[in-house]
Symmetry: C2
Subunit: 192 residues, 2 copies
């Protein structure tokens, strides 16, 4: 499926746009290709846009002072990713977004997103609902960290990203769950 078609189907789940409106919306996206390991967002730099994933897999992560990595999000096809704190507040990035595999994305500039939301009520509706869902998922994940419920987190991960376990190196999955490789193996074996 073409990038345009993938985005169209994705939007149609939440908002009704005419063909003309969708063409206008789509004209603001820039298609970009990245190689495995390339970086889209880098700590300390401004964040001008967000990315809609067409193919491949990205990760958004934070590295602390002891060089330990924490994965905030995997971004698979039809997922969106950015450093939203930095993008919304016009501050520099605190996280990194890079490519686990070769990837194709559509890039939407932050100022275009705001312009489009103010021009087309249906797009404001779409982006409101997208963030609503992101907020709820984030609260759920927060609760599982507070509650130290690794099993819930593992099951949530499998339901969010069913194909992930075979696609992504195990140390990255462990870094998403906040567990050791050994705990991950145990979760995986108990779950089969």
């Amino acid at each position: 499926m073409e990038a345009k078609e993938i985005l169209r189907k994705h939007i149609a789940q939440t908002a009704s746009l005419t063909d003309e409106q969708f063409d206008y919306f789509f004209s603001h996206f820039k298609p970009q290709s990245y190689k495995k390991g390339e970086t889209l967002i880098r700590p300390g730099r401004a964040v001008e846009c967000e990315y809609f994933v067409i193919s491949g897999c990205l990760k958004a992560f934070f590295v602390n002072d002891e060089i330990k990595t924490y994965i905030l999000q995997f971004a698979m096809p039809t997922w969106w990713t950015s450093d939203y704190g930095a993008m919304y507040n016009h501050t520099n990035a605190t996280i990194t977004v890079d490519c686990i595999t070769n990837a194709e994305v559509l890039c939407l500039a932050s100022h275009d997103r705001e312009k489009l939301c103010s021009e087309l009520h249906q797009l404001e509706h779409f982006f409101r609902w997208r963030t609503n869902r992101g907020y709820v998922a984030s609260q759920k994940r927060l609760l599982s960290f507070m509650n130290n419920d690794t099993k819930a987190r593992y099951e949530e991960l499998l339901s969010l990203y069913p194909q992930l376990y075979n696609l992504v190196p195990k140390h990255l999955i462990a870094a998403y769950l906040g567990v050791s490789r050994e705990t991950l193996s145990r979760l995986y074996n108990n779950h089969r």
Copy 2:
């Protein structure tokens, strides 16, 4: 200040409504008064609305199987609270919202919120931005839990709710931070 005036000022920070539009918006809210200890949202029940706090302090929390309490949010004046996962997905509540002090709130039914967002583009804009900010705060808190950075979480708490330390029992603050009472005292003493 009257409830209506408080809400008006709050909305005006993000969205421009005419007096007529604001009156229409406000006509959908129901003022409610609660006593300290009373419960607004109870696990297992449907969640029909969200609450805008006029006075007092509420807490949204989760109790796990071992009866340990995790506080997701304190809600002070001009904050909104609900079980958003349950409200958006029309499922039963998994968290509790109750009153730390006597409180006055404005209650907005979920179906009215959706209706208002579709009728008034400016309100869709307001609610999109409110959720954007909530999402970013939630991701930041998530990261501080993943990273086990209690100091960052404590400082974030003080900046979000400067007056909280004197208002709320210390065991609730510890339950928000996910630390023991002893760790909380240490953070407090080191910070002064």
